[in-house]
Symmetry: D2
Subunit: 373 residues, 4 copies
């Protein structure tokens, strides 16, 4: 069986997933056969060029015609077009894989998760960082109880592409189109990763309440190619304090104003028996300290043959890149589609992250802690 995949979106994420799809046969021979069937967008010329380059067999400007034709629908458009096509696809019984954050508003995210539940087909939210070998290795340590009881969790996602006030306005600066700013774009990754790593009941459990802080440092930005200035209606940065079910404390943060940081997503966890640290810009490495065996952090290069996914690639010490996370993610999602199995992170996981983000925003407005429903 060959899975026909329809993909909405052909920019950054379109390329990242098309690349992933194209690499499965060589590196994951047990993955289902996939056909990059149809690429969906609005601008026919650009779309046609993209389809050529990204290896799609056809193009379409109308997603409605596509979503029930294909076996799998990838929704990689901007946040405000996540809900409608995804729900339509699900209603047509098509498996859906949607970029994060699941939707610009909690209401839409709930509708999407409901639709996924009703459809009963495999569905996924594209939190690709779960599929980094080092993160999977961390997950393994945590699940095995090697860090003991969790006390502290830290997540930080730093970029700097807006620190220049002359940096042009984009849809990512608009509340209608993006939902939120750094919070939704970057914070969604952090919230999901922490849920993935310590969310088990035996570890820290779910996030119970948060205190949030959002800030917009530059209120309006120039529109590229014009004299117009347009308002920035989302946050440039956020921070949050979190209390987990088991009493663990968390601090979260993301910014587009962290001068010198390009894509610096770091996770730190302290448990009663050990600690760990991870940084996306050194994604092949995991720093681990187990109190029984270590006096300091051990910098593990997670590229050994028996490390998660690594046997599919290269010998020890031959490092992977950012894009490999998409290959692993696509492999898992498409395998779930083929076997009609479950996939995580699902739309429900996307929704759970959204609830945290929404609570952070609400807390910032009210200036008080907010419980996560």
């Amino acid at each position: 069986m060959t899975l026909e995949v329809g993909v909405l979106g052909y920019r950054f994420m379109g390329k990242a997933h098309a690349n992933a799809l194209s690499r499965l046969s060589m590196f994951f021979p047990d993955a289902p056969d996939v056909e990059r069937s149809v690429l969906v967008g609005r601008d026919e010329d650009a779309l046609s060029d993209a389809a050529d380059q990204l290896g799609f067999e056809s193009i379409a400007t109308d997603w409605e015609a596509v979503v029930d034709d294909v076996d799998v629908f990838y929704n990689l458009g901007p946040n405000h077009v996540h809900a409608e096509p995804s729900i339509a696809a699900l209603e047509a019984g098509t498996s859906v894989f949607c970029e994060k954050p699941l939707a610009p508003t909690l209401v839409e995210a709930e509708r999407m998760a409901d639709a996924a539940d009703k459809a009963g087909v495999p569905n996924g939210t594209a939190f690709n960082y779960r599929f980094i070998p080092a993160i999977q290795h961390a997950k393994g340590l945590l699940e095995a109880g090697e860090l003991g009881e969790i006390h502290h969790v830290r997540g930080r996602y730093l970029q700097d592409w807006l620190v220049d006030p002359e940096a042009p306005w984009s849809w990512r600066n608009d509340a209608e189109l993006a939902g939120s700013g750094a919070l939704g774009d970057l914070g969604a990754h952090t919230v999901d990763l922490l849920r993935f790593l310590v969310g088990d009941d035996a570890l820290a459990g779910e996030m119970e309440r948060v205190s949030g802080h959002l800030q917009t440092f530059v209120d309006e930005r120039p529109v590229e190619g014009s004299d117009e200035m347009r308002s920035v209606t989302v946050d440039d940065a956020y921070s949050a304090q979190v209390e987990f079910e088991n009493g663990a404390m968390g601090t979260l943060e993301a910014s587009r104003f962290a001068t010198g940081h390009k894509n610096d997503h770091t996770i730190e966890i302290h448990g009663s028996d050990g600690s760990l640290r991870f940084s996306l810009e050194r994604l092949n490495e995991l720093e681990v300290l187990r109190a029984d065996d270590n006096r300091g952090y051990e910098t593990i290069l997670v590229t050994d043959e028996d490390d998660p996914y690594v046997d599919h690639w290269w010998p020890p010490g031959h490092v992977l890149g950012w894009e490999h996370t998409f290959v692993h993610e696509n492999y898992e999602f498409l395998s779930a589609v083929e076997s009609d199995g479950a996939f995580e992170p699902s739309f429900q996981d996307g929704l759970a992250a959204q609830r945290v983000l929404e609570a952070i925003e609400a807390s910032d407005e009210k200036r008080e802690w907010v419980s996560i429903s």
Copy 2:
């Protein structure tokens, strides 16, 4: 003129300051002559041994007799004995140097700062980390505007000496004696360092409002040498979000449960033109990124001849230790005493830090943001 110094406290801080006093003549020949005159404590035998080892000429068990005899009074006792002797000394016109945090409660800290103002003599709060060459270098960069407008500030102080639930109870676990836990002991350092570095109006200004979170992970601890368990009435860890006058965002954190971290105080600052990072466990280094000159952080070994204080010590690359911060601090304080000049951090600075800590605690109780008066 030789300054006679009376010191209350002969344990950890007593040793740190006695050492500092003993080293001035060799390394800071322009410092005033000092005499380690009298060491004050309660247990005469222990006191006598300590005085011998630490080079004091006499001992006293009654601080009241001491505070107006000496030229300078160092109050290095536990937090709950900071107020009374310090105020008495000030009232006697004696210069006072007091360990941090200034007092266990804001009320006492205010009384102390008032007394200092009335006395009009040099007074200091022992925030020794201001006197690290790397921190002074950072201050220089910030004051010169090299980091531009400040957007983000981060301060974290991680220790792990209480992560074992069997670690014995001490006065540091008691609200009456210590005021607070990690917040006062460690957070005080963080708050002061950030005030020192970015508190200028031209930078981030003062902290305006905070949201705090305190947590006690282990509620009671064994009393050493007995079967008794005693309650832990202070925080094991705290976190806080801060908004500064200029809109900059801060996240603060300290813990005694950060497994594997011994004395890990880190400061990070992002401005529109650059960023910097500092870690106490590598206190000879400062990481600096200036957007105009650098693409990444530059790891500067702050041990060059023209770095702050360094010419007093050794050639470039010959690193200093934690204790040197006390020598610099004592040098500055005693020089101020000799010249009847001003010293910073003063009692007012100690009070200012206390106000932030108190607001963090209040915020945690109310579960809402609290303005700093």
Copy 3:
């Protein structure tokens, strides 16, 4: 025009190059069209499976039939089969790309380089590390004179896969098949990278004389799946001292016994105006110190849009992996083939590296310095 590529070898290097060939169209649209035409090997079944997985259209067990049929011949077999098929291909006017080291002996390498010169077609030695963006960035700095006069050069390639005396014998342990051990396998990379970086006359120039040291720590190893022990006839590790034309000093080293190091190739250079450091296990980073601007090394993440090759991939901070070096290398080589242009590193570069390796071995035998002819 579509270039038909024939590839001898389908294991590690076969996969690395097949992958590179398959990715050109999506990421380097201006690269020539290539067809993975024929895969050459001895074991038909294995070959057939590999061809399927790696996307080759046909297989052949006889390289002689292949080398003049295709437009480009990739020789990725073990070292002892480098010479004959490569020379045959060149004699047939076919462009040849050969894995490193060029040959097990200097004599064969010379024959190959001669054949390449006579053929006058593009030819390349697969020193893929030249094509790491961070290395290209380093090269740019060096060529621009930013490091000044070169004084010191250091290259070290550490692995540990033979430290266990029970690790099985392979062709890499055999002088006949491999030529040498760590020296040829790893040292070849180091020598080429240093030649690339500082070999210009304006920098350090060529290596003039060397003093070498080879060591075999374990003399015989078990043959997998049998009771037999077979002799190790190559070095497990080597070190060398080098003097360059301009008087610069170099130290080189490689080992298969460096416990804990998997693929740790590091380069360090000190010039009168600056220094730099690179490590293959963190290949997205370059540490640079320019005496005029820096006091310490600056850790540059070489993933900006205007960094070499990076605009073909992902936004800043989205790191590349080891395999991307092959894509860049293949892109450059095939572009040279298409335009009938020159490619570096050529067979002459492969030969030049070989001369250094041979001199290191000769020096070890004679226990004296040896000039590089």
Copy 4:
């Protein structure tokens, strides 16, 4: 009993040792009492000022009068005045502590070691880096066999104070006065540290043969305060390859031309069961990898209570500086003097290091490997 100490030399090393002597009573109360009795030099005014600052009771311009008056003689003068006063002191039955390298020539070093043996009194060569807690911890691991059989050893000492051709001439540039350049000044430390760490028969054993390379990059330098240029007759940098008794390979290197490096002494060791790394500029840390327990290097902060010497100082995580090595060294040496015990590194150790340095120089001249007698 109070030991009267006479010290020749009052500059860098004079200050380092005077400081160490002054700190023993507070931090090493079981050390013998010492009196900084007499400071010896040539320039009476400078000497008198130095004695005041460094806490000496008297001064002398004639070492001959001093060496048998005192209990202990510290020879901290330039290398060319090491032999005569040291030998005279030994002949007078006075314990002698001499700065490294022991002498500018092997002949003189042998005479000194002979005199020490004949005198039968405690004698020491001031290789202070043996007394770094992290190095002692490394030694403990090595002695316990935790690294297994030693295969590789690396030592590098990088400075940059001569990279500027205008940097003034000093006695350190003169063969008569200094013996050698980077080799003797820096290489002596490296050779001694490696002998200390792996020199045991059960580990790598002694260095058996070396291949050396010396280079002088700048041939003459300006004399400060005059128009004169004076010849540089020593090496600016050296490198060496070493073979140890057990077949382990070593590479050594030092330079005064390593731009950006101030006092960067690094040691790396690979054994069959583990590896370790140390850097003087981060002297509180030791990086350890034990193959059984670790997958990567563990960065140990060697400041725990049960780490060597640390209980004398501060709580865990409160880092020590470069100067503390002298306190430990003086403590050990003076304790040996008091108990008439043995001290290592002795003059014999100083001589052994010298033999290696001499062999490196001889090898460089002959351009061949030289055995160490």
